[in-house]
């Protein structure tokens, strides 16, 4: 599924569109930057409640093309600007991380066969 399709299906509030045609492989959820650095793989979605600029740095370094902010968290302006600059998709969901991930799973994203 592509970033554009996921944003539409989950009715996300898109702050930065990123590359809407890019295919997503899996999802990681977490708010500890080192955990994401250690565990995330390229082309995964990152679900978090962190809203500061360093989110963009971690997403860029790990090549995570879509960051979804759960629980209606509003990104700090410098994060939004950096995501636009780096072509990282950034979107907000009113859902809490668990419910958001349930819906991502219902869309068929992510499974137990992690590469």
């Amino acid at each position: 599924m592509t970033i554009g399709e996921i944003c539409a299906a989950l009715r996300l509030d898109v702050v930065s569109p990123g590359d809407g045609a890019r295919e997503i492989e899996n999802v990681i959820v977490g708010d500890l930057l080192s955990h994401i650095l250690g565990e995330a793989r390229e082309d995964w979605i990152w679900v978090t409640i962190q809203v500061h600029l360093n989110v963009a740095a971690v997403a860029a370094l790990k090549e995570l093309p879509l960051v979804i902010l759960a629980s209606n968290r509003t990104p700090q302006e410098d994060l939004a600007a950096k995501c636009r600059e780096e072509n990282i998709a950034l979107a907000i969901s009113p859902l809490r991380a668990y419910e958001l991930c349930r819906q991502l799973a219902a869309l068929g994203i992510g499974d137990a066969r992690e590469s």
């Binding site: 500890l32 930057l33 080192s34 250690g38 500061h52 860029a60 370094l61 790990k62």
Partner: protein, 143 residues
């Protein structure tokens, strides 16, 4: 003997938001040099974690990237307070980062283990009151 490609980066210790600037440059250089992407990803984790430590614990410092035909070397040097117990610092989950910084998702006590896991060679030297030097090596050709 061929000489390495070397770049160094000053890391500002006053601004948390600047974390990632040096690592992003390191990643771009490695891409430009045509290093395989799986090795770039490992180097990016090493660089970002090391940069995070320089800012959070070291009061800033200097990072250096060396690219040799056989390996990538990344070092981070600070003149901060030093690490009293390296064994403890290497323990996953152990952190001395202030609460405010942890709330931002930094300082989870995973940085040094993350660096070691992504390195083929790892060295951490520290002296209390003088500073810390971290060196990581990632092999380009496994022997």
């Amino acid at each position: 003997m061929s000489s390495p490609y070397v770049e160094s980066y000053a890391v500002d210790g006053t601004e948390l938001v600047s974390i990632g600037e040096a690592s992003t440059k390191i990643k771009s250089v490695l891409k430009m040099l045509g290093i395989p992407s799986d090795l770039i990803r490992r180097a990016a984790v090493v660089a970002y974690e090391a940069e995070m430590n320089l800012v959070i614990h070291g009061g800033g410092g200097e990072m250096e990237l060396e690219v040799w035909p056989e390996c990538i070397k990344i070092s981070a040097v600070d003149t901060g307070p030093g690490i009293p117990d390296i064994g403890k610092a290497m323990t996953e989950g152990f952190s001395t980062a202030p609460e405010k910084i942890r709330e931002m998702g930094f300082g989870a006590g995973m940085g040094l283990p993350n660096i070691k896991r992504n390195s083929d060679g790892f060295e951490l030297l520290s002296e209390v009151g003088k500073g810390t030097t971290l060196r990581s090596e990632i092999l380009l050709q496994k022997t």
